[in-house]
């Protein structure tokens, strides 16, 4: 760990050089120290979009990915099925440029560099937000302010409560053999809380599908798509006499699932399986010391993954590979008000990661990734300016061969915001961010595919936007538009480097993205008892390959980024009864970055409908039931070529809560 301490010290020095430790201490404005909870905004925020637990309940998403794709600016890669691989790209910048936070802790997977959203469920989610361009939260890890975008999830089990006892239970029964059960309990006293939680889910995943095979409509049933997964854990929180808060959390989760793969015409056999298990321990201390708020945190994380393919045609009679990925994080974040209109924030963080592979002669990579951050917020009555500098140092080791080069980089962020001016509460914001992502262990070291010579993939992001609230009487209207321009340099792509069967990662791509996202929210009271709410999201992304002007794909839309995406959500309620309609709309996308008909994947429009009612059983106890029909028109569609998605399906959800 000497390397870690060295890196930690280095970044601490960097932060101190930039002005940490001002001597003028004044009182901070009111800030929620339990500020990982983000309340729904009254006017639209130009930096972040948020979904509350009520909105999540209405949509009954199968996982967190189904919520995230409702945010404007996102494009999803969805391989289908419960627990199946899902990743999100924000504003045309790849999925590995996004940071995921749960209760203020980063989710880290240095093996693949990305998080499978299909394995994060929503039962305990109080709110989820997507932020691009600016600080979104309070005392978050330094690393979360640095990446291209941040997705932050806040859970029920991690917060102090006023009520002594709280309980949440939910059960779901759905098509294709889905059965879910979730239970969480929280006991609170004045200075402490303890929560325990757990979930078990299973599904057969054997859904019918149709696909176009030339001029013939082929009908099939998805096979090897079964899933069993679970998670459980406990959290304890204490308030000390000096108002410091300590939280300790342990969580474990696992899954055993079939991997159906893409539908291969005339050969529908699929026998690959994946088992995963993870354990994480998080420790969190937050405190106010005069005018400085600070937070110390640490995480131990262990991921185990077992992949099997019993019918792979090698001499061993198949593949059975085990991967073990450990990561340990520690960090310090702070915020300080220097003057009434000037605040300083920053932090340091260091992560250690390693990967072990069951095969002999495989690489044994280790990485220490350290972050330093300093940011300055200048406030006036109607405008805010934010300046941020971050440093990252990455040190690599590989005990079984060549290692990647060590890296050190400094990245800037600048933003200017004019807030709530005029009768219509106009807001205006412009920002620029330069960031990068380090190649994952798989990209650097995995068998023949990995390439230790890879450089980090760099992203330049520029955005300008406005929001307004023109009506705010019995009908409330919010409207937002952001225009953005991004450039990816040294994009990491796989190309054949030995023969057509042996592909390897190379820095060969340059991608330019121009786009805009817009959001319209309308809330209206109809008479005394009726309430309606409608949300419209639309995103345009012109994301094109600019790697080589002589290439046939020059200025072609890059693979799997549709130009047009959007959604419309509509809710109509009368007291505790209501209906909810939700659409997902996507224009065609291409499976390869050559915009020809042969590579087109059809666009689609999906409609889900739900009916729900809430019954108060007794004092402080409530019962809610929702019946949902998803993909009501039984549309045949896919996000990824030949990864077919389910047709019409049904879901009944029961929720019971005390307090």
């Amino acid at each position: 760990m000497n390397l870690s301490l060295l890196a930690f010290s280095f970044n601490l020095t960097f932060v101190c050089m930039l002005g940490y430790g001002q001597d003028t201490l004044k009182t901070l404005p009111e800030v929620e120290v339990s500020a990982f909870e983000i309340n729904r905004i009254k006017t639209l925020d130009l930096t972040s979009q948020t979904y509350s637990k009520e909105q999540i309940l209405l949509n009954q998403p199968e996982d967190i990915g189904a919520v995230i794709q409702k945010f404007s600016g996102t494009s999803m890669r969805n391989y289908g099925g419960l627990g199946g691989m899902k990743t999100v790209s924000v504003r045309g910048v790849g999925s590995q440029h996004s940071t995921f936070l749960i209760d203020g802790f980063s989710l880290v997977n240095t093996q693949t560099g990305q998080i499978n959203l299909g394995q994060i469920q929503t039962d305990n989610v109080e709110s989820i937000s997507l932020s691009v361009g600016g600080k979104n939260g309070f005392l978050l890890p330094a690393s979360s302010y640095i990446n291209g975008s941040v997705i932050s999830i806040n859970t029920f089990e991690n917060n102090f409560s006023i009520e002594t006892f709280k309980l949440k239970y939910s059960s779901r029964i759905g098509s294709f053999g889905e059965i879910d059960n979730y239970l969480s309990m929280k006991y609170s006293k004045s200075n402490l809380f303890i929560s325990v939680f757990g979930k078990y889910r299973q599904a057969k995943g054997n859904y019918d599908y149709t696909l176009q095979n030339g001029n013939i409509l082929y009908q099939g049933v998805r096979g090897n798509n079964d899933l069993v997964d679970w998670y459980s854990g406990a959290t304890a929180g204490f308030k000390l006499k000096n108002e410091a808060k300590i939280k300790i959390n342990y969580k474990t989760n696992g899954a055993n699932q079939g991997l159906p793969g893409s539908v291969v015409l005339y050969n529908t056999t699929a026998n690959q399986r994946l088992s995963t298990e993870s354990h994480s321990l998080n420790l969190d201390l937050s405190h106010q010391c005069k005018s400085i708020y600070y937070r110390l945190f640490g995480t131990l994380n262990h991921d185990w993954l077992h992949y099997t393919d019993p019918f792979f045609l090698n001499n061993s009679g198949g593949i059975s590979s085990v991967y073990t990925n450990n990561s340990y994080q520690m960090g310090l974040s702070f915020q300080q008000l220097i003057r009434n209109n000037v605040s300083l924030y920053g932090g340091i963080e260091s992560r250690y990661s390693d990967l072990k592979f069951s095969s002999i002669n495989s690489a044994l990579p280790k990485r220490i990734h350290s972050f330093g951050l300093i940011g300055l917020n200048l406030h006036r009555e109607k405008w805010k300016t934010e300046i941020q500098l971050s440093s990252q140092q990455i040190m690599e080791e590989n005990n079984m061969g060549e290692r990647a080069e060590n890296r050190f980089k400094i990245n800037p962020f600048l933003s200017f915001e004019k807030i709530e001016f005029g009768k219509w509460k106009w807001k205006f914001k412009a920002w620029y961010r330069n960031s990068f992502r380090m190649p994952s262990f798989n990209e650097l070291y995995y068998n023949n595919i990995g390439n230790v010579k890879l450089k980090p993939e760099e992203a330049h992001q520029f955005s300008i936007g406005f929001s307004t609230t023109p009506l705010n009487t019995e009908m409330k209207v919010n409207f937002l538009v952001n225009v953005f321009a991004n450039r990816i340099q040294n994009q990491i792509l796989a190309i054949p480097t030995k023969n057509l069967f042996v592909w390897s990662m190379q820095n060969i791509g340059f991608v330019n993205t121009f786009g805009y996202e817009s959001r319209l929210e309308i809330n209206k009271l109809i008479g005394k008892n009726w309430y309606s709410e409608a949300t419209f999201n639309y995103t345009y992304q012109y994301s094109v390959d600019v790697s080589d002007s002589k290439s046939p794909t020059y200025l072609n839309q890059v693979a799997y980024v549709p130009k047009h995406t959007g959604n419309i959500d509509f809710t109509l309620k009368r007291k505790d009864i209501g209906i909810h309609l939700s659409t997902t709309i996507s224009s065609l996308r291409y499976s390869l970055t050559e915009n020809i008909i042969a590579n087109q994947i059809n666009g689609f429009t999906l409609l889900d409908a739900s009916f729900f009612t809430k019954i108060k059983l007794a004092k402080k106890q409530s019962f809610r039931i929702q019946f949902s029909v998803k993909n009501i028109f039984n549309t045949s569609y896919s996000y990824m070529r030949y990864f077919v998605m389910p047709g019409r399906n049904y879901l009944i959800t029961l929720n019971y809560a005390i307090n």
């Binding site: 291969v264 015409l265 050969n267 190309i495 480097t497 023969n499 057509l500 069967f501 419309i568 070529r641």
Partner: protein
């Protein structure tokens, strides 16, 4: 409420399924003055295709197979050969052999290459007598009766067999063992075409792939090495003694017969450069080390020689993930023309 009704109606309209495509009656006109190009496509994309190029217009129809069969070819087409008035297309990941009528391209039969529910992954095909012989990645050569179009026998060979050729009443099969990388195979299986049994394994060098026979009956195999420290080499086998008689010290990726000569193609993945040389099978020497200017290609993916017009047809895979070209040269290496075809072109059947 009017707004709600309007929105709902709009959603109903845009949520409707796309219109079904009506199957077509395939054109049974005889094919002539063109070429059928097998385009491999990419793994798990089901985009393997046959492009029909009309020489009179130079236009390519990449939907040729679909227009003849009303369906797609499948995933990763690896070989296409003609024998006895039929065309056999070997589709590796879909694990099928598509049999078409040579004169029209009309489908005759699809042979499923599954073994107790497990894909055999067929790779290459050749013919002898009334049988077709197909290498399968599961370690067998399947014998297919060319009349009944059924698999009549499975002959056990080495790991992951690929190329195969017939000489001196024997079948020579390259066992690459590629799916065991880095512990690949190094042998060629010799099969008696009388008993249909393996009679010998000859060690030729790591990762053998292509097999070709010269006009004197000698067998040549490309051992592709490990793509780094062990180079790709051509090895000669005497088909009378079934012993290795020579290993040639030049880079070789593929062999194409051109009379008494071989066209030796090689693409260097490390430097992204292509090369085509002429090897004389009598003198056993390279007579032209650089027949074609490599700036004419982006990525050389294979070579085919057409004896009837003495032209060399080179496959350019471009960036592998975008559509490719067939580039035509004279036998002396002079560029003549190009045809834009499908993704990763690799084999041709010519029509006069």
């Amino acid at each position: 409420m009017r707004l709600i009704k309007t929105v709902f109606l709009l959603l109903v309209l845009i949520g409707c399924k796309p219109k079904k495509v009506t199957p077509i009656v395939p054109d049974s006109t005889s094919l002539k003055n063109g070429m059928m190009v097998l385009c491999e496509g990419l793994f798990q994309q089901n985009n393997s295709a046959i492009s029909w190029v009309d020489f009179s217009t130079g236009i390519s129809d990449d939907l040729f197979f679909t227009n003849k069969t009303n369906r797609l070819l499948g995933d990763t087409g690896n070989d296409i050969q003609t024998y006895g008035g039929k065309i056999y297309v070997v589709v590796n990941v879909s694990s099928t052999i598509e049999v078409l009528e040579k004169s029209t391209g009309i489908p005759i039969q699809q042979i499923s290459m599954m073994n107790n529910g497990i894909s055999k992954q067929p790779r290459s095909i050749t013919f002898y007598g009334s049988n077709a012989f197909v290498t399968c990645f599961d370690g067998f050569v399947d014998v297919i009766d060319t009349v009944s179009l059924t698999v009549t026998k499975r002959i056990s060979v080495g790991a992951n067999p690929e190329g195969l050729s017939v000489s001196n009443d024997k079948l020579y099969v390259a066992n690459s063992g590629g799916l065991n990388s880095p512990n690949v195979d190094s042998t060629v299986s010799v099969i008696s075409l009388t008993t249909f049994q393996e009679i010998k394994k000859i060690t030729v060098g790591k990762n053998p792939g292509s097999v070709e026979v010269d006009s004197h009956g000698d067998v040549y195999v490309i051992s592709r090495g490990n793509y780094s420290t062990i180079p790709s080499r051509m090895v000669k086998i005497d088909s009378h003694t079934d012993l290795v008689s020579n290993t040639f010290a030049f880079d070789a990726g593929g062999i194409e017969k051109m009379g008494e000569d071989f066209l030796i193609s090689y693409y260097n993945y490390a430097t992204s450069t292509s090369n085509i040389a002429i090897f004389n099978t009598v003198s056993e020497l390279i007579t032209n080390s650089n027949l074609i200017d490599n700036t004419q290609f982006t990525t050389l993916f294979g070579v085919q020689f057409r004896a009837s017009n003495s032209k060399i047809y080179c496959f350019d895979a471009m960036g592998y993930s975008n559509t490719g070209y067939v580039r035509v040269f004279s036998s002396t290496g002079i560029y003549e023309t190009s045809y834009h075809v499908g993704l990763n072109p690799s084999k041709i059947i010519f029509y006069d």
